[in-house]
């Protein structure tokens, strides 16, 4: 069969298939306008400025971003801009049950703590083993192709936790993608204000969790969409943070998974007004920063930004590079991460 014959058949088939699709044009435009208005209100609320006076002004002049307000513009399935919120579990009331968990775990069970950078998987895994290769004698079979950022550094740590969880129910939050995402932001990254779930798409092996912050007008603004993957196989495999999916603030250099050295050139693009970028380098085994660069002025529409950050003390198999901006209504309002190898 010649390409011309295939092309003729293809043209006829796609035309027939496409013509059979009859979208509701009027409903589409109304939905688009409503979602655009809601998104602009969120942007105004975020840019309205910090402080009590600004907060009051926002409350008076900007319609509150109640979840119901957002839901009224939803058609045809979940929309990216629709905001439904779930408060983060309070640090003082960690989840105590999980799949297969008969109740509260031992005293070592805890939710990701905003004040603890490294919730240690039980019992003591080593931090120097490869994430993709189990050591001889390991009973577990956890494999992972992405750089493991948080909360596990290696397959050995995952195996240790799985054994402990099966025995005592310790740290059940590893099985909850949303709680893991919040633990990553409030605990590991120390972004205390990024404390709620804006939306999530949790699949069998990977999850996308949008985390956000409360705004002065009473609404919620998304800060980042965190990508998680199961570390290992099966429902009993814990969630691991591997990156973020970015839009308004991107981190494109260094490339994901690149091997890097200090000083590190970092860059990406940003859409925003009067932004001040802070770049940090972290690793799971260190409670503090390995390096930081601040404060890079930026703004515009998809405008490139660049910074250089020096770091030291890198020993983990993967490092987290995080760029954040804020200062309008909160210290951190948007962030993006990438994973690199030292």
């Amino acid at each position: 069969m010649s390409h011309d014959e295939v092309a003729d058949r293809l043209r006829a088939a796609v035309t027939a298939e496409a013509d059979a699709v009859q979208p509701d044009d009027s409903a589409g435009l109304a939905t688009i306008r409503a979602r655009g208005r809601a998104a602009r209100r969120r942007r105004r609320a975020l840019l309205a400025g910090a402080g009590v006076a600004a907060a009051l002004a926002v409350a008076v002049t900007v319609p509150r971003l109640e979840p119901d307000d957002e839901r009224t513009v939803t058609t045809g399935g979940p929309a990216n801009d629709d905001v439904t919120t779930t408060d983060a579990p309070a640090p003082t009331a960690p989840p105590t049950t999980g799949p297969g968990d008969g109740g509260a775990g031992p005293s070592t069970s805890s939710a990701p703590s905003p004040t603890t950078a490294v919730p240690t998987p039980q019992p003591g895994g080593s931090g120097d083993s490869s994430a993709t290769t189990a050591k001889p004698g390991d009973s577990g079979s956890a494999t992972f192709s992405a750089p493991p950022l948080w909360p596990f550094r290696s397959a050995t740590e995952v195996d240790d936790w799985r054994r402990a969880y099966q025995a005592t129910g310790v740290q059940p939050w590893h099985l909850d993608a949303e709680t893991t995402a919040l633990g990553f932001t409030t605990g590991y990254l120390a972004f205390a204000g990024i404390d709620r779930i804006v939306g999530s798409d949790v699949g069998a092996t990977e999850a996308w969790v949008t985390v956000g912050l409360a705004t002065p007008g009473g609404g919620v603004s998304p800060a980042a969409e965190i990508h998680l993957e199961r570390f290992g196989s099966g429902d009993g495999a814990p969630w691991e943070v591997v990156g973020t999916r970015d839009d308004t603030l991107t981190l494109e250099t260094p490339s994901y998974g690149a091997t890097v050295a200090s000083p590190l050139d970092v860059g990406g693009r940003i859409t925003g007004v009067d932004e001040s970028l802070r770049v940090q380098v972290r690793q799971l085994s260190s409670p503090g920063l390995l390096g930081e660069s601040c404060c890079v002025p930026a703004g515009g529409e998809g405008t490139p930004w660049a910074a250089t950050v020096a770091f030291s003390g890198a020993t983990d198999p993967a490092l987290t590079v995080v760029v954040s901006t804020g200062g309008h209504v909160a210290d951190v309002e948007v962030f993006a991460i990438t994973a690199v190898r030292p």
Partner: protein, 182 residues
């Protein structure tokens, strides 16, 4: 201020149109064809509508950043393809939808029409089995009738890559349909 812009429909770049509501004009000109394009790529009308709506919402938010409104149609096509690709990557809708038709066949058709439907179904099934880039290139070429340069802009690749994707896609379709015809 009245905004003058080009709103090319199915590839006829250069059509001038003055309209006081550019969003409505763009929507009128492109919404339906973009939903159909996304449906061809995804095989799911509901998801296609959602992705196209997302693209229009993003366009609204970037309205001030679009220095040339005549690029809005190219922006929309690119946003729709990116959205469709993202859906395919993260939700594996392709596999789900290969197994079922998303558009109900017409009822009470004569025999000749039924045969046409069967032939079309086989072509569409073969199209949806192609790698996503080849599928996109073929849908843009043979549904929207875009030029190689326009397809390249929408897909974010070079015109040379477009040629490769179209050629390989047609090769694969010829192989699949040729085997089925035997």
């Amino acid at each position: 201020m009245m905004v003058a812009m080009s709103v090319p429909l199915r590839g006829d770049e250069g059509t001038e149109r003055a309209d006081g509501d550019p969003l409505a004009a763009l929507h009128r000109e492109h919404y339906r064809s973009l939903v159909r394009l996304a449906t061809l790529v995804l095989g799911d009308v509901g998801l296609a509508e959602q992705i196209v709506q997302d693209a229009f919402v993003k366009l609204q938010l970037r309205w001030g950043g679009l220095r040339r409104l005549d690029r809005a149609s190219a922006y929309l096509r690119s946003a729709v393809l990116n959205g469709a690709r993202s859906q395919l990557r993260h939700h594996k809708v392709r596999d789900r939808n290969l197994a079922r038709r998303t558009v109900a066949p017409a009822m009470g058709t004569p025999e000749s029409t039924l045969l046409d439907h069967d032939a079309h179904d086989r072509v569409i099934a073969a199209l949806r089995a192609l790698p996503v880039r080849q599928r996109e290139a073929l849908a843009l070429r043979y549904y929207l009738d875009l030029s190689e340069a326009q397809i390249a802009a929408a897909m974010g690749v070079t015109p040379g890559s477009v040629k490769v994707h179209v050629h390989r896609g047609l090769e694969a379709l010829a192989r699949t349909l040729g085997e089925e015809d035997r």
